[in-house]
Every structure is written in C-alpha cells, then in structure tokens.
C-alpha cells in the first residue's frame, strides 16, 4: 500500500513569530518543537536536506509556498512565482502590494493563479509532507534522529522505498531529483486535486505523469484512462 502524507498526529510547536520579509503580510511563526534549541524557523525539518541535497530542500520550500510559473510563463502571466497566500488577497491589495493588476491578466491566467492560493499554514504543512515523502524515497539519506522523530510524529514511520509517484504509483528514486532534462527536474510536486494545497493532496510525481494529468483531478484522470481504454477495446 503506497503511503500518503496524511496527518496521523500533532506536534507542540514553538510558535514564536518570525519576521516577514515578503511584500505580503503573513503571520509567519516558528514550526520547530516547543522548547527547541537554536534559532526559530518555519522549515526546521528541512535543515538536514538543505545540507545533504540542497536542490531538494529548495524545491520543497518553493513548491510548498509559491505558485509555479515556468510551465505557462509569458508576457501576460503576471507573476512568475509568487507566495501562494498572496493569491488569497483581493485584486486591489495585489495591485497595491505587488504592482500587478490581476484584472489586466487573461481569465485563464487569473484562474490559474487563484487556483494556487493557499494559507501560510497549509503551505508549511505541505512542506512538512513533502519532506516526509522525500525521506521515504528509495536511496534517500536517512534523517537525523530529531527530524525523523518530528516527521514521524506528524505522518507516521519514515520508511525508505515506500514513496511512490502520486499519479502512476511506481516507486520514486531519490536520485531522480538530480536528473534534469532541459532544466526541468524529472520529479515534480503534484496535486491530486490541482486546486487543493494540503499535505493529503500533494505528493511527488514523475514529470511525465504530472504533465499527462494536466489540469484534471487525479480521479478524473483515472476515469479518463478507463474511458479511453474502453474506447480502444482494451477494457471490457
């Protein structure tokens, strides 16, 4: 049975406020455990990966907290990457804070940006979930004790080799993070429902699978496959 980052438990967080360096107001706070040593941070679970596999840690931070842009970047895309919580603000606030007039963007682009909106808390939870999934990949480095405990308290045992592509469900190798064609990683973060940004709904997927799913929900995509296979006579 493939694993999903479904919340299985809770942690008592430190919760001290963190400085917000972005244009968009948000109550950032420390997600390290209550009474922790050292500096406060909202990504303490990424400290080890940031040393062992910097690109993976950065990818997790970026995909968890920002809208994507590369795939549909163009003159009228408005933002390349922007904090997901900014997309919860009304148009006039976005204009005032970032100088981008959402109403001037095409309807499709506006929808695409708004679809990626998520609260700061959901973004942090997605980062936690993706970190747990990365450690669950075959060939992943083992987390240090404190980070292992942290992630296990939230999502259950960290077992290398059980993380699979959220779409095709084949096991994912940690080494795929390093492979990239034409600047694009072979592993992408993927949403079962493209409009929901929570750990239960976000995982890693092969680039091919993620592109194939497109804008569909994963359930719709599987149903589409069934319909196609039925039409071509490969399914009764």
């Amino acid at each position: 049975v493939p694993q999903d980052p479904v919340a299985r438990g809770q942690l008592r967080y430190c919760g001290k406020p963190l400085a917000n360096r972005s244009r968009f107001a948000v109550d950032k706070r420390c997600f390290d455990v209550a009474g922790h040593a050292g500096r406060c941070s909202d990504f303490p679970y990424l400290k080890h990966l940031a040393r062992e596999a910097k690109n993976v840690a950065e990818k997790i931070k970026r995909d968890a907290t920002k809208t994507t842009g590369a795939a549909w970047l163009s003159d009228d895309a408005g933002f390349n990457r922007v904090q997901r919580w900014a997309m919860l603000l009304p148009d006039d606030e976005v204009l005032r804070l970032a100088g981008v007039d959402m109403t001037k963007l095409s309807e499709g682009v506006q929808r695409k940006l708004r679809d990626k909106a998520a609260t700061y808390d959901d973004c942090i939870h997605v980062a936690q979930g993706l970190t747990w999934l990365a450690y669950g990949m075959a060939g992943a480095p083992a987390p240090p004790r404190d980070i292992g405990d942290y992630l296990e308290a939230l999502f259950g045992p960290v077992e290398p080799g059980v993380t699979s592509c959220v779409i095709c469900r084949a096991p994912l190798e940690f080494s795929l993070f390093r492979l990239a064609r034409r600047g694009r990683a072979e592993i992408e973060s993927a949403h079962k429902n493209p409009r929901v940004h929570t750990p239960e709904n976000v995982g890693f997927a092969h680039r091919f699978c993620n592109i194939a799913q497109g804008d569909m929900t994963l359930d719709d995509f599987y149903e589409w496959m069934e319909t196609v296979l039925r039409r071509v006579g490969r399914l009764a």
Copy 2:
C-alpha cells in the same frame, strides 16, 4: 469503428515539377490529377478549405511539412519550424544551407529535430490524410465534388462525424479548430508513433490528449494507462 487515413487507392497525378522556394533542395511536383485544369499545386485538395477555414488549411500544410517548435522553443532549439525533409540532410548540409550547426544543439534537441524528418512525398501524403480527416469531422463543411472524389480515391468515403481523436478516440468537432487557449489550438495533429510521419500514423487529437501522450508511442501510452490503473486497483 473509427476511421484512419489508410491508403485504399491511388490517383494518377499530374506530376509536373514545381518551383522550390525553400533553402533545401526538393523535387516538388504537382499533386493535382493528371490532365487537371488550372495551375499546378502540391496542395490542390486544400483549395476549398483555404477559402472556408483558412486556419485549418494552413495548419494542415504546416503540420504536414514542417517540424513543430513552439512546445520546446528555446535559445538552443536551433530551428523553430523547418521543412521536415531538411532533417534528412547530414549536419554539414544543414549548416551550409541554413546556417544552423546541429552539432552545437543539445543531444535532446538534435534527436527531437531528427525524429521529425520525413520525405517530401510522405509530407504530402500526410497533408492529404489530414485533409480527409478534417472533412470527416462533425460539423465540417462538405468538400466540393472534385476534392471529395480526390480524397475518396485515396482513403475511402468522406463521412462527416466519423473522425475521432487519434488518442482518446472521442469524435472530433470541426468547430474545435477555432477554439484556442493562450494561442494554442484545441486540436493538434498527433502521431501514433512520434517518429513516423505517414498518413497511417498521423491524425488529429485533442490538445490535452496529445500532451498526455508526450513522447510515447500510442501503444506504449495505452499500456502505461493499463499499468497505472492496475497499480491503483482500478483494473484486475
């Protein structure tokens, strides 16, 4: 049973040489019927669509004879669109005639361009096949008698409503040619085997389906679907 543009018959062509205006030597000739009236042309079967639905006629010509580029266009893409027969020439000829040094392109881009190579004759046959398929779409204009006879002699009856997406096999509406999102048509030409450019292997497909198939052959793509559905427990 969905139709495919499989050659069912032959035509006696005029065959008179046509001027070649491109950089790449090719023996262009007239593909109108022997003894035809009017000017010689290698696209006589597109004359009616060029008046009734110019974008469709141009798309057929372009997709049949040129490599695509938009999807992977970048600084090192070498060509945006180039005649498919040019990609049959050795590297030094391409450099001499077009000023593009293929050996300077990444291996992936070189392969992508070379995969799209096709003879002039195959390109014309693909254009004929795509024209026949376009007239077979629900809501397509009826071809004038001479063009209908021409296409039927090659591929069999032109029956509106029988042309389906070559990938998902759902019927295709001619009106979809007009719909475009972000400048990209909702109908694309698609290859069952991405590396074979013949009428039997080329058809029209939904943009979504074509993107989903990616670089796979259609058979591999269907097999991939079966594997996925089996993994997620939707298929025994």
